[in-house]
Symmetry: C2
């Protein structure tokens, strides 16, 4: 299933929206903590060091985006990552960052 070319504004917006969800460090840290399995809001909040209200908002946003899902049990809400492709994305971005840093270091050397 190839992408339309030129990319339509609508599809560009849909893809961009997903990137925006991932473009926030607190959310990436939450996803990282969730890599070990489901966790509660308060648990995540205390580990990250911010308010439960804030964490709840981030998780709700990611749930809307289809990245995490929620399971209620008693007083607690357990969140789990439903789209594990996000970890691949993060890994690939790290690869790019490393490659760019290396290239810049090399160009500094040859200019010197």
């Amino acid at each position: 299933m190839p992408l339309p070319s030129p990319l339509t504004p609508e599809l560009a917006e849909a893809i961009a929206e997903r990137f925006r969800v991932l473009g926030e460090p607190t959310r990436l840290r939450l996803l990282d903590l969730l890599a070990g399995g489901e966790r509660t809001v308060g648990d995540l909040a205390s580990e990250i060091g911010c308010t439960t209200a804030n964490v709840s908002k981030h998780l709700a946003l990611m749930a809307d985006a289809g990245i995490v899902t929620r399971r209620r049990s008693g007083l607690h809400a357990y969140y789990v990552v439903s789209d594990t492709a996000v970890y691949e994305l993060c890994g690939q971005v790290c690869g790019s960052l490393r490659a760019i840093a290396d290239a810049r270091a090399a160009s500094l050397r040859e200019t010197a």
Copy 2:
């Protein structure tokens, strides 16, 4: 080279920043147009339908991020994608979006 766990705030910010660069539909459309090879600013601007000033700013931002590089020749500035991994990222995101849409459609059917 594994990522540190838990993800440090600094690395989370670095990864998030790259996602933010991609989290803008106009930039994604520019990258799509650049998939065919290098193009000038005015060329890209007229194809997308916005001001050259705006396109120039977007391209400068992506150049800072190491995604595109610039080549000046006479009056023109030719931009080209230097980190082609961005196309992989977009493709993966499209895959996720499709999977999520399918899953939601399926859950609608079974609830009905």
